[in-house]
Symmetry: D2
Subunit: 452 residues, 4 copies
C-alpha cells in the first residue's frame, strides 16, 4: 500500500514534477512513517535526483505531521534499514584483513558509513533543511531510550551536526536593543540560568551601556541563536547576582570598567546537544571585549553551584560536627534572613564549599559540580566563593545560596586546562585554597571516600 | 629535533599563550613539513585545546610557506600517519564479525575514520580555516599523482568538503554592476567558457537589462564565488554566441523576453573539484527567473561541443565518403569564410553532430561529449544543433564551429534524467532526431564500433 | 559675564580644540540661555568655522540642560535677535521699489531671511543635529503661546523641517517581527488610534501573515519612525475593529485576500507637526501592496468618527423627535448591551451619521470630522458607515460606537480630491447617500444652520 | 495649443490617473518647454496633488528630452514666470515699512520667496527627484550666461541644494575594493587631480593596506559620490607624487604609519557647485583615521600649485635677474632631465615659490593660488615646498614641477583660520618662511606690486 502510494508519487514526479508532490501533500491523508521512509529510499536511490530538492523537501514537510508513534517507527526504520551495505562491508573487511593499509582502511571506513548519513546530507539540501534536521534530532533525543536501535541513529546525527556546526562556520553577533525582535524573543525563551521575565527585563540585560550579550549563529539557521552569554561590565568583581539584575540600577560609565563578568550562558538548541560551543563562545567574547575596551583587566564568571546541597546531603556522615550543624542550618527555611546567624555560618560554609570544589571528586576523578567541570575544563580558575551570592529560591535550595567566580586568564588557561585534564588538578586562587587551610580531620576521610 | 621544537612550542603555549606562537612564526626559519605535522599531532591530542583555535591557525599560517617538496612531505605524512588507530580498528572488526549488527557496524565506521578527518575539522575552527583547507586541497590535487598515499588524503578532503559545501549551505547571489569589485574581479578571472577580456567586457555581461549572472557562495568563503552562470534574456533561442557577446548591442526590452539562455557556466574553486554545484545552480536560477519574469517560456543553454572534432578524427575510418570529405573540410583553415561552401557542408555536419550526440558512446555507454553528459544527466534535452554557432579559434578547432542548445523543461527533467541514468537514453528534440533520418549505411558501423 | 565665558571658550577652541569645549561642558555649572545664545552668535559669525561642527554640537549638547524658563528665554532671543539684518533689508526694499524685477525680489528674499534659518542649518551639521532640532521644535510648540516672538521662530522651524523632510527624502520600511526592538518599542509608544498594550499585542499587529505595518523614516533620524500605518488583509471589508485586534484569531491565507484595510495611522514626531506625511504614506503603501499581492481589489480604511457625539450634542435642538430620542439613547451607559434596542436605534443613527458626514460643515465649508477631512482631502470616498464598529469606551463616548470605511480608488482620487477642494463636495458611495434618502424635514434646517 | 495639451493631460489625470500620463509620454511628439512649464504650473496649483508624485515625475521624465534651446526656454520661463507674487509682495513691503517688526519681516521673507523654490520642492517628491534636480542644475550652469534671467533661478537652486546637502545629511563611506563597481566606476571618472587610468590603477589607490579613500554620499543620491579624497599612509611626509602612484610598490606595514597624506580631492557633482564639502570631508577623515590608527602624528596634503607658472610669467618684469633666468629656464622643454642644472635652479625656484604663497595676493588680498586658498581657509598651514614634486606634463607646465604639503594640525586650525580670514595672514612653517629670508631687493617691489 505504501509502496503503491510511493509508485504513484514517483510517477507524479516524473510526469509533472513538483506540482504533484504538492498535491500528494494536500490530499488529506496524514502521512505515515512508512510512506516517508519510502521517500527516503527514493532520495537515496538517486531516482529523484533531477527534481532537485523536491523529494527532500517532501520528507521534511511530512515528518513533523507524524505523531509520537509515527516518529518512533520512522527512527527505528532509520536505525535498522539505513545502515551500511553489509555485503560490501564484508568484502571491505576481508580486503582490510588481507592487507590493512591506508587504502583498505579508508575503503573500510567509507563502506561502513550508514546510508542514513548520506540520507541526512541529501535532506539537508532542501530549503530550511538544516533547521528541520536539528528539530528532528531534538525529537529523537526525547525518545532515544525507547529502542536500542535509536542510539546508532543519534550517533550519526551527532557526527554530522558536529561537523556542520564546526566552530569555523559559526558567526558571533552582538545582541542588543537593535537586534530584531524575532531573535530577542528567543533570548527570552532560551535563557536557562536567571530567567528573563519579560521584555523590560530583557532590555535591562542587553541595552544599558555596561551590559553586553553575544550569541553564536549558524548561517543556515537564520534568526536562531545557538548559544548566548550575558556580560556585565563593572569596576570590581561582583559577588552577588541580585544587584546585577536589579530593576533600578544606574549603569556604570564605561571608563570605569575593569571587569567583565559572564553571569549567564545558555545553550539554545536541544537538537545540538553534545556539540560544544561554550568554550569557543567565551574565548571569542573575551577577545571582542579586549579589542573594544582595552582597559578591561579581568574576565570572570558569576556562576551557580548547582550540586552543592545535594553533595552536602550525601556526604553528611563524613562531616565534622560543626559542619554537620551548618549543613543542617542550610536546609532551614529562611535561614539567611537572620543576618547575624548567617554571618556565623559563613566561615564553615565557605570552607565546605572549598572542599566541594577542590576535593570532592566524581567517578572520573573530576569535580562533582557540572558548572565547575565546564569552566575548569576550559582552563579557567576558581577565583572566589560568594556566600549568599544568590538568594533566589532555586539557588537557596540547590546551592545554599552560594555563587562562585571563575577567572579566565588567557595567560594561564592552557596550563590550567592541561593540569585539569591530565592530573585532575583544580586551578584555584590563593584565597580559595586558604579556605581549606584550617583543615578538619573529617575532610581527609571525605576525600578518600570520594576519590574513586 | 622537530620534537624539541615542538616541546618548546607547547611550553610556550603553556607559559605565555599565543604571543610565543607568533614569535615562533617570525623567527626567520622557514617552517618544515615536520614541524607542522608536530603541530597537527598536538592539535589532535587535545593538548592545545584550551588555547582555542591558536594551534589550528598556526598550522594554516605555516603551511603556505612550505615549498613543493615540503607540501608533498606534509601530505605524505597525513596519508601515512593520520589514518585510523589500527589496534582499535582491529578490535572493532573482530566485534563486527562476531555480531554484525547496527551497533557493531557503526562502531566499525567510527573506528575506521582516519584521524586526518578530525584534524581537518579542527583546522577548520581557525579564522579563515575553510578557505585555507580548500586551498590546501587544490595543492593536493596538483601533486596527487606523485605518491600513492595521497589518494586516501584526497578522499578524506573530498568527503568533508562535500559535506560542508552541501547545497543546503549555499547562498545564491545575483552578480551585477552593484556587486563589490572584489567579487567581480574573480568573475573575470574564473570565467572558463568565453573569456572576459576586461572590465568593460564584464559589464556587458552583467549590467544590461537583458543579462543576468548568478553565483553560489558559501558563508565561510566570503567574496569567493563557487560557481557562476551567465544568462541572456531574449525572445527567440539564440543560435550563435557572437551576437550575445557583441560590443555594440542594443539590450532587448524585458517585456519581449521569452527565453533565458545559460551561455556560460564556470566552476571557480579547484579545491572543490568533485563537489557538484552546477545542477543545483541551474535549477535554482530557473526558479529565480520564473519568479521575476513569469512570461519566460524556455530555459535553454547555448553550449560548446568540445569533443566533436577529436571524435571525428578518431572515427574517420568509419565514415561514409561524403562524411569523410566533410571531416576533411572542417580542418582546413578558414573554411567557414567561404559562405557558400560552408552552406554545402551544413547538412552533413549537422547529421554527423546528431550522430555524435545520439549514437556515439563512451566506455560507460554515455555520450562522448562531457558537456552533453552534464546537461543530459541533469535531465535536459538536446534541443538544437547550431552550425557555425561559434567561430572563435578554439571552437573551430575543437567543435568545427558547432554549438548546441540544451533545453531545461522542468516537467520533463525527471523523466529525462531517469532514462539517461538507467537506459543511457539521450533526450533529444524531434528536429535533432530528424537529422539522423537520412541515415547513411556507414553510420550503423559507427554506432557498433563505439557502443562498447 | 556670558561674554567673558564665551571669550574663554573661543580661546579654548583656538588653543586646544574641542578638548576644552568638553571641559566647559563638564565644569559643573548648568548652562544658561545667554551662554548658549553666545555660542549661536559665534556659530553664525563664522569665527568657529574651522573647528568644524564642534560649536554646533556644543549648542545642541547644552540646550537640553536648560529648564523651562531657560528654554523660553532661548527661544525669545532667537525670535528677537536672529531676524534679518534690518539695514540690509531696508536697502533691498528700496532697490525693489525702484525696480521690482526678478533680481530685486530675489535679493529681497535672501536679505529678509531671518538669520536663525542659517543658524538652524549650521546646527544641523553636528552629529545627531537633525534629531536635536526636531526635539527643540517639539519644546517650542509646547510653549509657543507664551510669547508672541515665538511664532516667527516656529515658522522658520516649520519651513526648514518641511524642506528637509520632503517626501523625496523619506524611506518606506516595512515593520514586522524582524524589525529591531528599538524601533518596535516606538511603534508601541506612538500608536495613537488603538493603543498597543504590550509586546504580544504588538506582535499580533505586525507578525501574522495577513497583517502589515509600514512606516516612513528619514535617513538622518535613525530608528525613529515618522508616521506608520497598520494594515489588515482580508476577503471582505471589515466593519468592526474588535475582530481585527482579537487575541485569539486565525490569520487568513493570503490567497483569499482581496481587501487591504488601513485601520490605524499615527504620526510619531511632535516636532514635525504640520509637515504632512499621511497622504504620501497611504499612497505608497497601496502601491507596495498592489505589487506584492496583485489580487487585492480594494484599499479601504477602518476609521474612527471622533467628532460625532460632540456634533450631535451641539445640534440637538435641530433634530427631529426620533433623532433627539436616539441622541439621548446614545449617551446612556451600556446602551449597546441591549442588542434588540440597539438594533432599533441603528437606522436613525446611520442616517444621522450620513448627515454628519455629507451635510454638516465647519467654518470653511469642510466636513466637521477631522478624520474625514484628512481622507476626503486625499481623494478617498466615504464608503460605508459601521454601526457599533467600535465598542471601546473612547469610541462609545466620542463616536457613539460608529466607525466608517473610506475607499481609496486610485482611478478616482484625483477627481474626488478636486471636487472636494474646489466645491467642497464629499465623495460618498451610493449606500451612504441612500441613508439620507428618507430625509426628515428637520434635516433641511440642520443643513442650513451648519453651512456657514 | 500647449494649453489644450495641458487640459487634456489634466483630464487624463482626473479620469484615469497615471496611465494616461504615460500615454502622453509615449505618443511620439517630443515634449516642448512650454508643455513642461504647463505641468509645472499644475504642480504648483495643487490641482494634481492627489495623484501624488505623478505630475512631478512627469516633469522630470520629460525635461531631459528637451534639446538645448528647449532647456534655455524652460529656464527662462522659470526665471521670469515663477518669481514671487508681486501683488502680495508689495503688500508685505508696505506692512513692513509701516511696522518693521519680526512678524512683518518674516512675512516679507515668505512672500518674496520665488514660487520656483516651491516648485523644486514639489519636483523633489518624485522618485529620483533629487538626482534629477542636481542634473537639471548642472545643465543650468552650462548656459547660465546666456540670459540674465537665469541668475535668479540658479540662486534658488543653490539655496535649496545647499540646504538639502547640509553636512548633517551626508554620510561618509570608505571606498575600497569591496565597494560596488557602480561606485568605483564613478571614482575613476570623477578623479580630477591625478587621473586614474583604468581599474588596475584604481585598485592601487584603494586596495593596498597603506591606502585609503573616503567619500561623502547623500541618502537620496544612491551610488553617487559627492566628493572623495585619496589618502596615503606612510612614515614620513612624501615630497613627490610619482612614488605614491607607482605601479610597482611595496605597501608599507601599518605599524610604521605616522603620516596620512591627502594627495587628491575631487568634487563629483557639477550640479552641486558652490555647496562646500571639502572642509568637512577632510576633517571627518582626520577623525576617522585617528580613531583607527592612534599612532598617526601628522595629517598633510600633497597638493598641486596650479597657478605658479602663470603668476611667474605675469610678474616677470618684477623679478631679480637670477629669478628671471630661473623663470626662463622653467619654460624650456625637459629642463628637469638635466639633474645638475635642476639642482642649481632649486634654491631660486623654492624662494620664488615661497614668495608666490606668502606675498603674492589676489584682488581680495588672498593668495593667488586657488588650492592654497582652500586649504589655508580650512585652517591648514603651508608646511613644505617640494621642488620637482610632480614631473607630469601638466604639473611641469602649470607649476614648474612644484608640489606643496599643507599641514592640518587640529590644535591650530582655528587660529590659522581666524588669522587668514581676518588679517589675510598665511600660516606657514619655519622652513617655508626661511626660504624668504635671503630676500632679494626685487622682492620688495614685487610684494608692493601685487598687494592690491
Amino acid at each position: 500500500m505504501n509502496s503503491a502510494f510511493f509508485s504513484e508519487l514517483l510517477n507524479s514526479i516524473a510526469d509533472k514534477g513538483r506540482q504533484l508532490l504538492k498535491r500528494g501533500e494536500g490530499n488529506g491523508a496524514a502521512p505515515t512513517a512508512g510512506s516517508i521512509i519510502e521517500l527516503c529510499r527514493a532520495l537515496l536511490s538517486g531516482r529523484g535526483e533531477a527534481s532537485g530538492t523536491a523529494l527532500a523537501a517532501e520528507v521534511l514537510n511530512r515528518y513533523p505531521l507524524l505523531d509520537d508513534t509515527g516518529k518512533l517507527a520512522f527512527f527505528k526504520a532509520l536505525g535498522t534499514d539505513f545502515g551500511p551495505d553489509q555485503a560490501r562491508l564484508a568484502k571491505a573487511v576481508i580486503a582490510w584483513q588481507k592487507n590493512p593499509d591506508q587504502d583498505a582502511s579508508t575503503k573500510l571506513h567509507f563502506e561502513s558509513e550508514p546510508r542514513r548519513q548520506d540520507l541526512f546530507r541529501r535532506l539537508n539540501r532542501a530549503p530550511g533543511g538544516t533547521a528541520a534536521l536539528v528539530a528532528m534530532r531534538a525529537d529523537l533525543l526525547n525518545i532515544k531510550d525507547k529502542d536500542p536501535a535509536l542510539a546508532a541513529v543519534d550517533q550519526d546525527f551527532a557526527h554530522l551536526l558536529s561537523s556542520w556546526f564546526n566552530r569555523g562556520f559559526l558567526v558571533l553577533r552582538r545582541i542588543d536593543w537593535s537586534t530584531p525582535a524575532i531573535v530577542l524573543e528567543k533570548i527570552i525563551r532560551y535563557e536557562a540560568v536567571h530567567a528573563i521575565r519579560d521584555w523590560e527585563d530583557l532590555r535591562r540585560r542587553i541595552d544599558p551601556i555596561d551590559r553586553r550579550c553575544y550569541a553564536f549563529f549558524h548561517p543556515a539557521l537564520v534568526d536562531e541563536p545557538l548559544i548566548f552569554v550575558e556580560v556585565a561590565l563593572s569596576e570590581a568583581v561582583p559577588n552577588a547576582i541580585a544587584p546585577l539584575l536589579a530593576e533600578a540600577r544606574t549603569p556604570a560609565p564605561l571608563s570605569y570598567a575593569r571587569t567583565a563578568t559572564f553571569y549567564s550562558i545558555s545553550n539554545c538548541q536541544r537538537g545540538l546537544d553534545g556539540v560544544s560551543f561554550g568554550n569557543f563562545l567565551i574565548k571569542q567574547v573575551v577577545e571582542e571585549l579586549r579589542r573594544e575596551l582595552p582597559k578591561l583587566e579581568r574576565f570572570v564568571t558569576l556562576s551557580p553551584v548547582p550540586g552543592f546541597m545535594r553533595w552536602l546531603a550525601r556526604e553528611r556522615e563524613q562531616l565534622a560536627p560543626d559542619e554537620q550543624a551548618a549543613a543542617e542550618a542550610l536546609i532551614q527555611p529562611d535561614w539567611a534572613k537572620d543576618t547575624e546567624a548567617a554571618e556565623r555560618l559563613r566561615p564553615v560554609v565557605e570552607s565546605l564549599a572549598a572542599g566541594y570544589f577542590l576535593r570532592a571528586k566524581g567517578p572520573k576523578g573530576r569535580p562533582v559540580d557540572p558548572v565547575a567541570r565546564f569552566h575548569l575544563g576550559n582552563g579557567a580558575r576558581l577565583e572566589r566563593i560568594n556566600f549568599l551570592g544568590d538568594r533566589s529560591p532555586r539557588a537557596m535550595r540547590d546551592a545554599g545560596g552560594l555563587m562562585v567566580n571563575y577567572l579566565y586568564d588567557l595567560d594561564d588557561i592552557e596550563k590550567n586546562h592541561e593540569a585539569f585534564v591530565n592530573q585532575g588538578e583544580v586551578a584555584a586562587s590563593g584565597s580559595v585554597r586558604k579556605l581549606l587551610k584550617s583543615e578538619p580531620r573529617s575532610r581527609l576521610q571525605l576525600t578518600a571516600s570520594s576519590s574513586n
